[in-house]
């Protein structure tokens, strides 16, 4: 499964200004992630895990360095340019699910397809929801679903566009152990089935150990 480079970072760094002067959150990160790989970004709180994820996904602009997705450099693009890149190739799963409360499960999953202008959004979304085991709950609103079910909807939403890279930010952080385990199972299963590259941020050693590759961060630096 693992093969050519899909995501590459060189000398990636982020500085922010603070009352005490510039603060380095992330420094000199070099990474080369191959297609279909599973990568865990781990480290203690405040180590810069989420910042690295945001930079790799193009949600934020780096202070130094560059990022390539499928060979195209996108860290120097403006926000709209990066957005277009994400639209075609990137999926997300968040700790707090980020479902749109006013939309049903089905409509939430349809959202990225509609943004891409796909006419078969409804049917495609229905199929993915069935795959995550929610085929009978498509018309439910997020508030009518349990935490685990909400995260399944979020996973369905992330996979529905068949992204090249799926970023997951503490995907089980808001779930109990048993539910979390089932969610991770689902994530890896879909990853295997679709050949998506999975990059997840976690501080759960059990989850991290299921990934093929580990990026360990401490105080903004990659230590291994």
């Amino acid at each position: 499964m693992v093969g050519r480079s899909v995501l590459k970072a060189e000398n990636l760094g982020k500085e922010v200004s603070s009352p005490e002067g510039p603060l380095t959150i992330l420094a000199a990160v070099d990474l080369d992630i191959e297609a279909g790989d599973t990568v865990a970004i781990v480290g203690p709180s405040g180590a810069g895990k989420s910042t690295l994820l945001a930079l790799l996904a193009g949600l934020d602009e780096p202070s130094t360095g560059k990022v390539w997705l499928n060979g195209a450099e996108f860290s120097s693009l403006d926000e709209d340019g990066r957005a277009r890149m994400r639209a075609q190739q990137v999926g997300f799963v968040f700790q707090s699910f980020h479902l749109v409360p006013s939309l049903t499960a089905l409509e939430n999953v349809m959202l990225p397809l509609e943004l891409a202008g796909r006419r078969d959004a409804r049917e495609a979304a229905r199929q993915v929801l069935a795959k995550v085991g929610l085929g009978s709950r498509v018309q439910h609103y997020p508030r009518q679903l349990s935490g685990g079910e909400q995260q399944r909807v979020a996973i369905a939403r992330a996979f529905v566009i068949q992204p090249a890279v799926l970023f997951a930010d503490e995907p089980t952080g808001n779930l109990d152990t048993a539910t979390g385990a089932r969610i991770i199972e689902l994530l890896f299963e879909l990853n295997r089935a679709s050949g998506t590259t999975l990059i997840l941020v976690t501080h759960d050693q059990n989850i991290a150990s299921r990934c093929r590759r580990h990026v360990i961060l401490e105080a903004g630096h990659v230590v291994s």
């Binding site: 945001a54 709209d80 890149m85 994400r86 997300f92 409360p101 006013s102 959202l111 943004l115």
Partner: protein
């Protein structure tokens, strides 16, 4: 295309989820308010312009208070012009014991020369054009006369000394003047019957008109001829001048109604701004997510703009439809003030509906939505990241520009726009300040009430700014409605109160000199004290200090009227009781018979006169020069005979044209009027009671129309309230959950909500009571010069408080009740 499809899908979902309900309702209401008024004024305007061409029922019209010489008609015929005559006078007509002051119009064959008479089969029914005039013995009565006398076609009317049968209902005549006519309904009769009525005697107040029409050039030539040859007291009217006059007064009334509608638009706009802000706030996360999924800034912008456009279009169409319905009701309310039916409205106001919805949404909803495009996608990871703040100045500039554009659209006058804009802003600012003070005044109350009330009051204080806006929004609607009540009630009460018991309630004019003794005897025979008879003669002002009166500089409308038209003169040795000398002095006994005149202060002001000025009058063809000896302030509302011009007695003693007098008659004595009119057909009777009740009727209907327009303002206040409740819904849910977790019962939480809105309503009512009371008092004392009534002010305060508390209390509690019913655990789980 992609953005369009996506935007429509998002819009459908937003509407389904109720996110946009208040916003859509508010815009629709704004459109309905303005188009309702727009359609109505459009119909009136159309009626006026339809009439404009035929407003004088001829191409050229000569009017005079004296019969127009036959030579004028002969000259017109010689030039190949068509002619007709009308004779108009006001008289009381009877049906058995029932009487009604009526404008009588006698016409000759050929009338009208331009336009056509229209008759109807039932009162206020549709009319059809006819090419004839009433036959001898017939009277065509208008719908109002039919309604007021409660008669039917075929009944007989007593007109002066003769009887005429009502054969048709007169729906329209071309020269009926403005659509809003004077108090008297009309009867059209044949000129041949005029003599039999015996209503015309020397000195009667009659208007004679000669109508001319024909070939354009011939008319133009004849106009030049008349300008040179007409008698000084004759007025020459042509189509353009007359239609301009009507047009401008109707335009002013229309502008007023439109501005009233605009107040509702402004309040609705506030509601729109509030709900758009909430919408934007609630969509920060969704937009961040969408950006995360690849949506660009332009895509987000396009969605917002498309959503707004679709909303504007939909609200524009629905609002316009509602406005159309509202306009029908408005026309129904004032139907009795209109002579004839109104033409259907044109489509122009519908266009105004779209402009309104566009402007309101662009000015007030677009700025918060623009903010959405700059939401950073990183917000999905860090929820504390907000979009860069919109510069407030930019937002307000857009809103103010939108408001000014709407005002300019309505009034179509730059200066007026500026003034209205400034005064509206000031009014809002003052009211907002007052609202704030009222909110602050609550703090002292909190320690002294139970837990539910304390929590409710705390909520008002905590959301101070929003609370003040809500108080203003509601207060404004209530203020206007209360003010209308105050003004109407005060005026009518005061008019009645200023008539002490036994004050004259009937006027008799056109009493010929030889009728003086018989009239006195008539009253004496019926045990009624002999009234004082005032001599009256018509005179026209020619010169002031040797300068031509019509060429005096700086004359207003009324001044010109004084200079151009004939006035009634009287003379008396004693100063009338309700007159007060403000400068100069009343004639001493040695000044009787000297050429002196005492003028009313209105006459002084409108003609820019002063003591000692020399006035030259034309009195029945004879010149008379008099010196201004005194200026009088006259209480016209005393209902005693009063005159602008009073001469020293002895000057014209033998020249009196007619006499007038006033008498008090009890209801039991009224039937004697029938005898009086039969015995003295030339004497005109004015029944003040009836006149007052007619005035009240007109005021009632006109103010009901205005009240109706301001109901929209109140509804707009409801919109602001709903928008405010909606924008605090998430906070309220959370607070309710916390309170209930801490052990508060549902009932306690509901009570606190009720307490909050009842108090808000009380404050809005207090604001309305203060404003309407103050403005009402100022209007009464400064404008109408009557004492304001304290009990009425108290009543208004009570009504204001009650209406505010009930309206806001019930609406607010109802709208916020779902917050209380929502399970607290669901709320807390979502946080």
């Amino acid at each position: 295309m992609k953005a369009l499809r996506f935007a429509l899908a998002v819009l459908a979902r937003d509407i389904k989820s109720g996110e946009l309900t208040v916003l859509v309702l508010a815009v629709t209401l704004a459109v309905a308010a303005l188009t309702g008024v727009g359609f109505f004024t459009n119909r009136i305007g159309q009626a006026v312009s339809l009439q404009a061409a035929e407003v004088i029922a001829a191409d050229l019209r000569l009017e005079s208070t004296r019969p127009i010489a036959d030579s004028v008609f002969a000259e017109a015929h010689r030039r190949g012009l068509n002619t007709a005559r009308t004779t108009s006078l006001v008289s009381v007509v009877f049906v058995q014991e029932q009487s009604q002051l009526t404008a009588l119009r006698a016409v000759t064959a050929g009338y009208p020369l331009r336009g056509a008479l229209r008759i109807a089969d039932r009162p206020f029914g549709p009319g059809r054009a006819v090419a004839t005039i009433p036959q001898s013995g017939e009277g065509w009565a208008d719908s109002r006369l039919i309604a007021r006398l409660g008669i039917r076609v075929g009944d007989e009317l007593t007109v002066g000394a003769t009887r005429l049968r009502v054969t048709h209902i007169l729906e329209y005549r071309p020269d009926q003047g403005s659509q809003f006519v004077d108090l008297a309904p009309t009867v059209l009769i044949n000129e041949g019957d005029l003599a039999a009525t015996a209503l015309i005697a020397p000195g009667s107040r009659v208007t004679y008109a000669a109508l001319f029409a024909g070939d354009r050039d011939a008319v133009a030539d004849f106009k030049l001829y008349l300008e040179q040859h007409k008698a000084p007291a004759e007025r020459l009217l042509n189509v353009e001048e007359s239609s301009q006059q009507i047009g401008s007064s109707v335009k002013r009334a229309g502008q007023f109604l439109n501005l009233a509608g605009l107040v509702s638009v402004l309040l609705s706009a506030i509601a729109v701004a509030m709900s758009a802000r909430r919408y934007a706030r609630r969509h920060l996360d969704v937009v961040a997510l969408m950006k995360c999924m690849g949506a660009t800034q332009n895509f987000i912008l396009a969605i917002s703009v498309i959503e707004l456009l679709v909303l504007a279009l939909a609200a524009g169409i629905v609002g316009t439809a509602i406005g159309y319905g509202a306009q029908q009701i408005l026309a129904y309310i004032v139907r009795e003030l209109l002579s004839g039916t109104l033409p259907p409205p044109s489509f122009e106001p519908a266009f105004m509906g779209l402009v309104t919805s566009m402007t309101v949404l662009t000015g007030f909803a677009l700025p918060p939505l623009l903010q959405l495009r700059t939401v950073p996608p990183l917000r999905v990871l860090r929820r504390n990241l907000d979009p860069p703040k919109l510069r407030y100045a930019a937002t307000y500039v857009l809103a103010v520009a939108a408001v000014l554009a709407m005002i300019a659209w309505v009034v179509r006058d730059i200066d007026l726009t500026r003034w209205i804009g400034i005064s509206m802003l000031l009014t809002f600012a003052v009211l907002y300040g007052a609202g704030h003070l009222l909110v602050l005044s609550l703090s002292g109350l909190r320690g002294r009430v139970g837990v539910a009330w304390r929590y409710g009051l705390a909520n008002i204080a905590r959301r101070g700014r929003e609370s003040a806006v809500q108080i203003v929004a509601f207060g404004l609607g209530l203020t206007v409605l209360l003010l209308l009540v105050v003004v109407r009630t005060t005026l009518l009460q005061e008019w009645r109160a200023s008539l002490p018991p036994g004050a004259p309630n009937h006027f008799f004019i056109n009493i010929r000199p030889e009728e003086r003794a018989p009239i006195e005897k008539f009253f004496a025979d019926r045990q009624i004290p002999a009234p004082e008879l005032f001599p009256m003669i018509r005179a026209r002002l020619i010169e002031v200090n040797g300068n031509k009166a019509t060429a005096l500089p700086g004359l207003g409308d009324r001044g010109r009227g004084f200079a151009e038209r004939e006035q009634n003169l009287t003379w008396t040795p004693t100063l009338p009781a309700d007159n007060e000398i403000t400068s100069g002095h009343w004639w001493r006994s040695d000044e009787l018979g000297k050429p002196l005149v005492s003028i009313a202060s209105e006459y002084e002001r409108d003609l820019n006169l002063k003591l000692g000025d020399r006035l030259l009058f034309d009195v029945a063809g004879e010149p008379l020069e008099v010196k201004v000896a005194s200026i009088r302030k006259v209480r016209w509302d005393s209902f005693h005979p009063n005159f602008f011009l009073v001469l020293s007695p002895g000057l014209l003693d033998n020249a009196a044209g007619t006499y007038m007098t006033s008498v008090h008659l009890t209801p039991e004595q009224k039937p004697l009027l029938v005898d009086l009119v039969r015995q003295f057909p030339g004497v005109s009777v004015f029944d003040i009671d009836r006149l007052l009740s007619q005035v009240r009727d007109v005021m009632d209907k006109a103010s009901r129309a205005v009240e109706y327009v301001f109901l929209f303002t109140l509804l707009a206040g409801v919109m602001v309230l709903l928008a405010a409740i909606q924008s605090t819904r998430d906070e309220r849910l959370y607070e309710s959950a916390i309170l209930r977790t801490l052990g508060a019962s549902r009932r306690t939480v509901l009570e606190s909500v009720a307490a909050e809105f009842t108090m808000l309503g009380l404050l809005a009512g207090a604001l309305a009571a203060i404003c309407s009371g103050t403005v009402g008092h100022l209007l009464a004392t400064r404008v109408f010069s009557i004492p304001s009534s304290l009990p009425l002010i108290f009543k208004v305060v009570a009504w204001g408080l009650l209406a505010g508390a009930l309206l806001v209390g019930i609406t607010g509690t109802w709208a916020a009740r779902s917050v209380v019913n929502y399970p607290p655990i669901a709320t807390l789980r979502q946080e």
